[in-house]
Amino acid sequence: MSTAVIHTPAEAAKPRTTYLNAGYTLKSWLLTLDHKRIGILYLLGVSFFFLIGGIYATLIRLELLTPQGDLVSAQTYNKLFTQHGIMMVFFFLIPSIPAVFGNFLLPIMIGAKDVAFPRLNLLSWYIYMTGALFASYAMFAGGVDTGWTFYPPYSTNYANTYVIATGLGIFIAGFSSILTGLNFIVTIHTMRAPGMTWYRLPLFVWAHYATSLIQVLGTPVLAITLLLVALERTVGIGIFDPRLGGDPVLFQHLFWFYSHPAVYIMVLPAMGVVSEIIATFSRKPIFGYKFVAFSSLAIAVFGFLVWGHHMFTSSQSVYAGMIFSLISYAVAIPSAIKVFNWTATMYRGSISYDSPMLYAMGFIGLFLIGGLTGLFLAALGLDVHVHDTYFVVAHFHYVMVGGSLLAYLGAMHYWWPKMTGRLYPEGWARFAALVVFVGFNLTFFPQFILGYLGMPRRYHTYVPEFQLLHVLSTAGASILAVGLILPAIYLLWSLKRGPIAPADPWMATGLEWRTSSPPPPENFERTPVVTWNAYEFRPQEETEIIGPPSEPDVSKRN
């Protein structure tokens, strides 16, 4: 068997063992310990829950076409936005890039055979699926209407819906997030190939390291918080209920202590993806590598100290508000550093317009707007007006959809040839990227204006003067939907009909491109020895010699 010989697709004549054809039984998938297969299992999982979350979003946007409530009842609407948020945040965005692409790529990128704890990795997937299916059961059995934020005393004493069951689903899935984070941290520390020093790591790995720290340190707090809500609901322990001496605002502190860093769980891996794509499609090392690497860690650390900026109107002390605002501005700086460095990377590059690059450039533009509107929300006096309005809705969709989702799609297009061994139709891919970009902006830009005009979020009905902007937003959402359905079609089509992908279709630099597409079960023929820095672009002839799998002694074994 040959891993590799990179630029000879003719090789394909000889059947080669890849992680995909290593076994065809259901069992070989469901009991696999291969990080790549687990990545694919996650891909199936998160795609399914993204679809459900997307259906909820569609119904929400349709309801908001008119000011009065005519499509669904108020109760149903409240369940829709709650379940949309829960599905998208906990079961799509948080696992999306780390669990799918992190699992698939991280070990290959550092030249390892697998993650440090392969069994734990498989267990993580089962825990995730259990949690997600439990939450889905709760939603189909009766639904939940507390908002994804579960604020008491509504969630503890008033809601008549499946709060505990849904919370339990999130609680369970949290352990999957913790275990994946733990696995990645240990893997990055102990499994790097010889010569793969910390400063030679791809920035994707740095970003996942920072993300993993948040997952391990933050998620337990969410678990505790949900447990307290369940206890309050069942036995009334009086942590949050003021009639029992509790404090409802305490919940908000606990919840955002996790859920603000969780925003960085969603966006840091996306930043890692964008660093990879920008470098590859500009054929230049990332400008200011160390600044980009450490800004990820800075974001992870500062991210834990800003939760109170969700609570400027909550009756939290004015002085606490000031501290949280100040630190929130500190967290803006590392994000700005990244954006400047990505842009500078393109300077004097060799820039191609392949679809992953279009997504990455789209990411920078949208994340920029998402980030800058974050400055509005961190400005105390201004937040009082826009807090809990559509301005906030627009802001976090720019970060999470414009940022994380675009990066997720970019990653999908960038690594699809590696994961499946097939190329997709590039023309369609570029077209879809454009449709997503246009549809996204039309959906969410009007919501900034709506928010400043004072339209509160989570409203089933609204005053008639807001209708025009809502109609624009719904129109945009339908374009966005087309842009998301297109890749689903041509990517699935490419699985059977797409041209066979070479090992390195992009002339990229990472170790994942030094092995075949799709990679063999053990990733490399032998452990690679790394003698170069990240993003050292070389002529193709040279990479073949340097790339470990294609070294002469490897070909001898063919």
Binding site: N78, R243, K284, S315, V318, Y329, V384, Y452, L453, P456
Partner: protein, 350 residues
């Protein structure tokens, strides 16, 4: 303001003294956003066109980075961020520093309505009439879940939290009808929990008040509750000196209170509320924990009225009748007195 037409607007009405301040900050941020968006996006487009790939195998010369540039684009955004922080904090302070000399309105939220009471007794539901050009202070609580009192055209918002009082204020500058929204999700009819703030010229407001003048003021109602609940049994005017088992309440509002634990707290609305519902929480120095709880025996509105009554009491005055006018003026007088704590019996409380 226009009567809710569906014409296209980019900005809400500026109808309070706060609106201009918030909008100025908003425009500053819009300017910064435009500047950086244009800078970065045009940079990306320019580079993407200028340095487009011209041959499939070309490899440009690598550029590792530049300490000078990194310093510049760390420092400049940092300075800009700090300027926003300071400005934002200034506006925030103005929004939440509650003025003393204001018209006192009591607000109770419940699923899904707003109940309001004027100092002169008028009650309203989902509609609040206020005079233009006068500071209005809202003292708010809720009977059930968290709500949030939001008037976009005034740029003010404050959460209304069960178990405590929160306050907000505004000074309307333009007569008209303005939306009132609940901004914190509160259950099924959250989106219907709104209403209208009617800003009137002072003379119109007076006319409106006198047209609805039959009710008793909150303080007068509070005095009735004070009698009915038997508070007078222990809280005699004159306190212990007069043979009362509980501290004297007249003149206590806004003053520091010495506790058994040695701590000192200010007797504000939240303190009085806690002392009625959970009397054992903070015992005044020199008194024992003998007061029973009144939790469940008084509604949120009655509680607010009791507090309005206690606020209206003056130390020297006999039975401290709750004159309607007393509320706002005496409040400010009491709070300003501030420091002197010697007072009658060392502790005043319960």
């Amino acid at each position: 303001m226009q009567q809710f037409p569906s014409e296209f607007k980019l900005m809400p009405e500026q109808a309070s003294t706060m609106a201009g301040q918030v909008d100025a900050l908003y425009f500053y941020l819009v300017g910064i956003t435009l500047f950086f968006t244009v800078l970065i996006v045009s940079g990306i487009i320019f580079f993407a066109v200028k340095y487009r790939r011209r041959s499939p195998y070309e490899i440009p010369r690598p550029i590792a980075g530049s300490m000078k540039l990194e310093t510049i684009w760390t420092l400049i955004p940092f300075l800009i961020a700090m300027s926003i922080f300071v400005w934002g904090a200034k506006v925030y302070f103005a929004q939440y520093r509650i003025p003393k000399d204001a018209l006192d309105i009591y607000v109770v939220g419940k699923q899904w309505m707003w109940k309001m009471q004027h100092p002169t007794g008028q009650r309203e539901i989902n509609e609040l009439h206020i005079p233009m050009g006068r500071k209005v202070r809202l003292t708010m609580t809720t009977e059930d879940v968290i709500h949030s009192f939001y008037i976009p055209d005034f740029r003010v918002k404050m959460d209304v939290v069960p178990g405590r009082y929160t306050q907000m204020w505004f000074d309307a500058t333009k007569p008209g009808r303005y939306h009132l929204f609940c901004a914190e999700y509160c259950g099924m009819n959250h989106s219907k929990m709104g209403g209208t703030i009617v800003v009137m010229r002072p003379d119109e407001y007076q006319a409106w008040l006198s047209g609805n003048a039959s009710q008793m003021s909150p303080a007068q109602l509070g005095e009735q509750h004070f009698q009915n609940l038997g508070c007078t049994t222990c809280h005699l005017n004159g306190g212990r000196d007069a043979g009362g088992r509980g501290p004297q309440l007249a003149g206590i509002f806004g003053k520091p209170v010495q506790l058994e634990t040695g701590q000192t707290v200010i007797a504000d609305e939240n303190y009085l509320r806690e002392s009625i519902l959970n009397p054992g929480a903070k015992i005044v120095a020199g008194y024992s924990a003998i007061m029973p709880t009144y939790q469940g025996q008084v509604t949120e509105e009655q509680l607010l009225q009791l507090i309005a009554y206690i606020k209206s009491l003056t130390p020297q005055g006999g039975s401290g009748t709750a004159a309607a006018s007393a509320t706002s003026n005496s409040t400010s007088a009491n709070t300003n007195a501030g420091a002197q704590s010697s007072g009658s019996p060392s502790g005043q409380r319960r």
